[in-house]
């Protein structure tokens, strides 16, 4: 059943989704303190092996797997096994959570207060909760929330407590730990900390993976981690990481568990708390180091209205059903199971595919607010729009989005203009509205004089903030938009030519958007289907023809991708024109940024999104993947060797639209 949910028919329009209920409503009516102290009796896993936090540590340290790695490391490094074991123990101390209910209760109390101030409502699909309650009893559960804000995991634990579900243990980045007090608090509410990078550290990996697996095998608690690895600064889903996914699946592969349930959770915010923070970060203003005092300063945040928040618990996905016919479990028969084994090529491919599909589920279940549509339109009209035409177009876009299967939370019985003015009010920090004219603009009035550069950056902050909302709906338009651009650049109505263009673009952007590897044909067919159904295209046996009425839709779809096409072209142009022989990887981002800034200041480039480091990184990753750029290690520096001919030809194929006027 679960696998069917994952490999659902490709026509998302037919998708049925659960209803929501506001969980804050109850909180506004009764005492938070009593609530925090109420009797908490979670539903438990039927195979639970009761186990205390302290026991957990010794089980991990004594495990055959860890003992085996300790011996390996000891014989490789020449240190005594006691010494290595001691190191393992320290790693575990640094990592392990110390969940205790009293801390959780404290959090429940304070978060109740905070959430009520921050959000108008927190909506949860209760059917999802019921499914989770069922799943939790049957098999060990892994929770896979999307990651857009620090709020995410606090909210997850809060909700699970609320619904008497077992509290999860959460894989958190080490950066939290440096926040002295908060770090420890989080630890006591179930967070465990992993270093951001430990690529070659065998011992670290062994401790970490054994720790997670032990908790999973014992049914100790649901494991929660973020497939995307980190918070998405752009509100676009990030290319998933497979390391932790492999760890939680391995007990199934090796027969230690009958099955594991993966539960994708989509958390969406009407207004992201970190909105402008992210934009600044993308523009190169370094991220403030997480610190408790920093958090306190962020108290200003508490006084603002962040609208509503939606949490959608997806259908549990059974690892067993996922792996059926894809993973040959008997490949693990010939090696004792405690000896660590790198995933085989097949396994790796499977993990990657599964990870993408799970992120796709997250995307599809992400609730979109009306503002997302408005933001999309405002970004396409940098000179602003009349309120009336904004209203009209938003309504048009709303129907298009719904036809493409968007999970839109549009108030049922309100006039369109009403809905729009509400949204504009909530996001007033990004806009100016005067005399019926709406425009994205810098609202924090520029004090004193600003240099032209500063002005560009201030404007870019607004644009990137706004883009983070548009980005939420990109996954809905992405495939049709790729098709629209492909049709434009193919200059032909032959289906094969258009598919080739589509495939090229898809390939080019596969670091930018979630495009499941190998799904090219399905994606193409889905795009054709959606646009055909909308009456935009006629898809014949060998040809694709635009309908008379389709022009506006195609134009809209093309301009959805425009900022990305332009951004990639800027990167290509930079690599062709400006680079010398010794461009290091580190210099790349700042250099492209100043190149783009120069173009903007010169009036040759309109699009501020080219300044986003996220886009620049993705473009570079794509060029590396397509082998137009190579990484070469020189000393301790990594330099980029550019194949200018290849880069040039990629840039040409991308559209020749010459957005960057000379």
């Amino acid at each position: 059943m679960a696998s069917r949910a994952l490999y659902s028919p490709r026509h998302p329009v037919l998708k049925k989704r659960d209803d929501f209920e506001d969980v804050l409503e109850e909180r506004r009516r009764s005492s938070d303190l009593r609530y925090a102290l109420r009797c908490y009796t979670p539903t438990l896993y039927k195979g639970l092996v009761p186990c205390k936090v302290s026991m957990l540590k010794s089980i991990v340290l004594q495990s055959d797997h860890l003992q085996c790695v300790i011996k390996q490391v000891s014989s490789e490094s020449g240190d005594s096994t006691e010494c290595v074991a001691e190191e393992a123990s320290l790693i575990l101390d640094e990592m392990a959570h110390r969940m205790q209910l009293s801390t959780v209760r404290f959090f429940v109390f304070t978060l109740s207060k905070a959430f009520k101030r921050l959000f108008r409502s927190v909506c949860v699909n209760e059917e999802g909760i019921q499914r989770l309650q069922q799943a939790v009893q049957e098999h060990p559960v892994v929770l896979l929330p999307s990651h857009r804000s620090y709020m995410d995991f606090l909210m997850m634990s809060y909700l699970l407590y609320m619904f008497d579900l077992p509290l999860p243990v959460i894989a958190a980045g080490m950066d939290f730990m440096s926040m002295k007090f908060i770090g420890e608090m989080l630890r006591m509410s179930g967070a465990f900390f992993i270093r951001r990078s430990f690529g070659g550290d065998k011992l670290y990996w062994a401790v970490f993976s054994e720790y997670v697996k032990t908790m999973l095998r014992k049914g100790y608690a649901p494991i929660e981690f973020f497939l995307e690895g980190t918070r998405s600064r752009t509100c676009k889903s990030l290319t998933p990481k497979t390391g932790l996914l492999n760890i939680v699946m391995e007990p199934f592969f090796k027969g230690e568990l009958f099955d594991v349930s993966l539960v994708p959770v989509s958390i969406s915010y009407e207004r992201v708390l970190e909105e402008s923070l992210y934009a600044r970060e993308l523009l190169g203003v370094p991220k403030p180091k997480e610190s408790t005092s920093g958090l306190l300063k962020a108290r200003r945040v508490l006084s603002e209205d962040y609208g509503s928040m939606h949490v959608y618990f997806g259908h549990p996905v059974s690892v067993r059903s996922l792996a059926e016919g894809k993973i040959k479990r008997s490949q693990y028969n010939l090696l004792p199971r405690y000896i660590p084994q790198k995933p085989s090529v097949d396994t790796h491919e499977f993990l990657n595919d599964a990870a993408f599909r799970l992120v796709r589920i997250q995307e599809e279940n992400m609730v979109l607010k009306p503002w997302v549509l408005i933001a999309t339109l405002l970004l396409q009209n940098p000179d602003g729009m009349d309120l009336s035409s904004l209203t009209e177009q938003t309504d048009w876009l709303r129907h298009l989005a719904l036809a493409f299967g968007a999970f839109l939370d549009w108030p049922d019985h309100e006039a369109c203009s009403e809905v729009i003015s509400c949204s504009l009010a909530l996001h007033r920090r990004l806009l100016s509205v005067s005399a019926g004219h709406v425009q994205l603009s810098v609202t924090d009035a520029p004090q004193v004089e600003t240099t032209p550069e500063e002005a560009v950056f201030q404007r870019a902050v607004v644009v990137l903030s706004c883009a983070s909302y548009r980005n939420q709906i990109l996954h809905v338009f992405l495939r049709p938009a790729l098709l629209a651009v492909a049709m434009q650049s193919a200059n032909s109505s032959r289906k094969d030519d258009i598919y080739n263009c589509f495939n090229f673009l898809r390939n080019m952007f596969s670091n930018e958007f979630i495009l499941c590897p190998g799904d090219s044909v399905q994606d193409f067919e889905e795009a054709c289907y959606l646009l055909m159904k909308r009456g935009v295209l006629q898809v014949l046996e060998h040809e694709i023809v635009m309908s008379a009425s389709g022009q506006s839709t195609l134009a809209f779809l093309c301009s959805v991708l425009e900022p990305f096409l332009q951004g990639y072209q800027v990167v290509c142009r930079y690599l062709c024109e400006e680079t010398n022989e010794n461009l290091t990887e580190k210099e790349f981002i700042p250099a492209v940024r100043s190149f783009a800034l120069k173009l903007i200041l010169a009036g040759r480039l309109k699009c501020c999104e080219a300044l986003s480091s996220d886009l620049q990184k993705n473009a570079l990753a794509a060029l590396l993947r397509l082998k137009a750029v190579r990484k070469v290690k020189v000393g301790d520096q990594v330099t980029l060797k550019v194949n200018k001919i290849a880069v040039n030809s990629l840039e040409d194929t991308m559209g020749k639209s010459d957005v960057i006027s000379k």
């Binding site: 027969g255 230690e256 009958f258 040959k328 479990r329 008997s330 693990y332 028969n333 004792p336 199971r337």
Partner: protein, 627 residues
């Protein structure tokens, strides 16, 4: 304390007889039956028990397990009883079986699914006879028959689908005739004639196969001849100096054991099917006996094998206990499943009958602890003759087979025991499980050994639970096949299957396979949760043999056998995915052929195929098992 069962006192008597026999003059000891092979030679051995008759259907069921006179039934009062006089359980009432049966399967005594009472002979296709072959055979003086009952009886083993079809009166392809060689040279003649006239031969021993090995391949167009070895059933000689016996391969287990007992010996090879399975069948399937810890499995027991193949006779030239002469040719024969030839004579190791036998049992709080204990016993290499661990479901099953107790005192004692274990010791009756033990040897050593094993068990939370429980556990294995027939009278079908697996995977495999069965049943529309239970039946240095019972109520299913087969298939996939083997001792037959390549690699399968090609290029032994 000593086992006071009737069987043991009978053994004592036999030992005395054996003692008399041993006083015979030296030169006679080695000639129990070394006479000219003649079909109707009067038997020299003084056994009173009748050998297997040619018309087996006269004493055995044609569409179920075992003897016609022995079967389970629910009497008018709704109580289960076991008919006949052959078993300890015979004639007894089993008061708790009904509740267990109804509770476990959701079955109902009102809902019967009775079997067709007699063979519908008109449904048996007329034989496809090879006349020249028959004439030559007649000239050679080999007994033969093409009576439909004889042919139907030899067309199947005891797989569920085979028995189910018979009960419904459905009869598929059956052998076209049956031949009964009475000695090695008869077999040589038959095989020669089969080659000459291109006839397909299917060797038939005890007929207890559970791998579809006896099924006639439907694509076979030649005349199929079932070669019934049952008349080759003599012990040809016993060599007390070397402790070996030379035996014709058609002898069935219980006759072999009984006859050896008369001389004071035993082979100690006791597979659960030993009442009916034959020595040749054991060799051909790599059988395993319950007491292998002392005596070894069949491959450890054979010293010499003679097999007739289309290429001629294969055998070794001496009786040396071990040889380094290239790959052991015995291993081409062991497990060949009737694809290469007919095993005619086997020289086997024998042992003096043990002085003392004692059953025992241990209760563990849960299955994990039980497995840990068995693993420790194996590590210390102190396994008793037999040690088996039943899971909780099987423990309850065993309990349901407790006969009516004779006195209030016994039932009071039972209650007390139960109270002690569940209330005082805190064992959860839904988790506890039982290990059954059988010790053999001289008295002092048995008692010492017993203490050692119980001490280990105690370390894993095990409590000694008496001889009676132990003995009942072993009884279960002999009557389980009869019980299946009872189930089939009430819409319940089931079967057992087995595997072997390394120690560290035993628990995971058991859990996953059991759960897979439950899941698959649910997905395929089985209305009631199935019985899905297992036990660890053998311990080895590096792993264990695990046996699964699986049964369900099939009311409401249009094609129950198909559902059964799909679930069993899924269960086997699960076993293989969890590091279990394709089979520990049931063999491959045609049922598990599809996994052979995966199990032994393409090269391995190629080696086996090339042996088959050399030995039997015409595919005379055309049962199409294994390869």
């Amino acid at each position: 304390m000593a086992s006071n069962s009737s069987s043991s006192s009978a053994q004592q008597r036999l030992r005395i007889i054996a003692g008399h026999l041993q006083k015979r003059p030296e030169d006679e000891h080695a000639s129990v039956a070394a006479q000219e092979c003649k079909a109707e030679t009067p038997r020299s051995n003084p056994s009173s028990a009748a050998p297997v008759p040619k018309r087996r259907q006269e004493i055995m069921k044609w569409n179920g397990w075992g003897y016609s006179d022995s079967r389970f039934l629910f009497n008018k009062k709704g109580q289960a009883e076991f008919t006949g006089k052959r078993y300890r359980l015979s004639g007894l009432i089993l008061p708790s079986l009904k509740d267990w049966f109804e509770g476990t399967f959701g079955a109902n005594l009102q809902h019967k699914s009775p079997a067709t009472p007699t063979v519908n002979l008109s449904a048996v296709a007329p034989p496809n006879l090879n006349e020249p072959f028959i004439e030559d055979l007649k000239a050679a003086g080999v007994a033969a028959s093409h009576d439909p009952e004889d042919r139907v009886f030899r067309a199947h083993g005891h797989c569920l689908h085979e028995i189910f079809a018979l009960r419904e009166g459905r009869i598929g392809r059956v052998p076209d005739m049956v031949v009964w060689p009475s000695c090695h040279s008869d077999v040589e003649k038959i095989v020669e004639l089969a080659c000459k006239h291109n006839v397909c031969l299917i060797p038939y021993g005890g007929g207890t196969s559970v791998s579809s090995a006896l099924e006639c391949p439907h694509e076979e167009t030649r005349s199929i001849v079932s070669l019934d070895t049952s008349q080759m059933n003599r012990i040809l000689w016993i060599d007390e100096k070397n402790l070996t016996a030379h035996v014709e391969a058609g002898i069935i287990g219980q006759d072999l054991e009984r006859q050896l007992n008369e001389h004071g010996y035993c082979t100690g090879h006791e597979p659960d099917s030993m009442e009916f399975s034959s020595l040749g069948g054991w060799v051909a399937t790599r059988a395993s006996g319950m007491k292998k810890n002392i005596y070894g499995n069949i491959e450890d027991l054979v010293v010499h094998i003679k097999m007739v193949t289309p290429r001629g006779v294969i055998e070794k030239s001496c009786l040396g206990p071990r040889m380094s002469t290239g790959p052991d040719i015995h291993h081409f024969i062991l497990g060949s499943e009737g694809t290469l030839g007919v095993v005619t004579e086997v020289t086997m190791k024998i042992r003096p009958i043990p002085e003392y036998q004692k059953y025992g049992s241990v209760v563990f709080p849960n299955f994990q602890q039980g497995v840990a204990c068995l693993r420790e016993v194996a590590r210390q290499r102190c396994a008793p003759a037999s040690i088996r661990l039943m899971d909780n479901e099987q423990f309850q099953f065993g309990h349901a087979l407790k006969p009516q107790v004779s006195s209030i005192f016994t039932s009071f004692l039972d209650g007390l025991k139960k109270f002690y274990i569940t209330k005082f010791k805190g064992f959860d009756p839904h988790h506890l499980c039982v290990a059954t033990l059988l010790f053999e040897g001289d008295r002092g050593k048995v008692l010492q050994h017993e203490k050692q094993v119980y001490d280990i068990a105690a370390k894993f939370g095990g409590l000694a639970a008496g001889e009676d429980n132990g003995q009942r556990g072993y009884m279960l294995t002999f009557v389980i096949a009869y019980l299946r027939d009872l189930g089939m009278d009430y819409y319940v079908i089931g079967e057992s299957f087995e595997t072997s697996v390394p120690w560290d995977r035993v628990l995971d495999l058991c859990r996953n396979v059991k759960e897979r069965i439950v899941r698959e049943c649910k997905e395929r529309g089985v209305q009631f949760p199935p019985l899905s239970t297992c036990r660890v039946t053998q311990t080895y240095d590096a792993g264990a043999c695990v046996y699964f019972y699986f049964a369900f109520n099939y009311r409401g299913l249009s094609d129950p056998v198909h559902v059964y087969e799909q679930v069993e298939h899924a269960a086997r996939e699960e076993i293989l995915a969890n590091g279990g083997s394709l089979s520990h001792h049931h063999g491959v037959g045609k049922l598990r052929k599809e996994w052979m390549k995966e199990s032994v690699s393409g090269v391995g399968l190629g080696m086996l195929k090339s042996v088959k090609e050399y030995v039997d290029p015409q595919n005379i032994f055309g049962n199409r098992n294994l390869l």
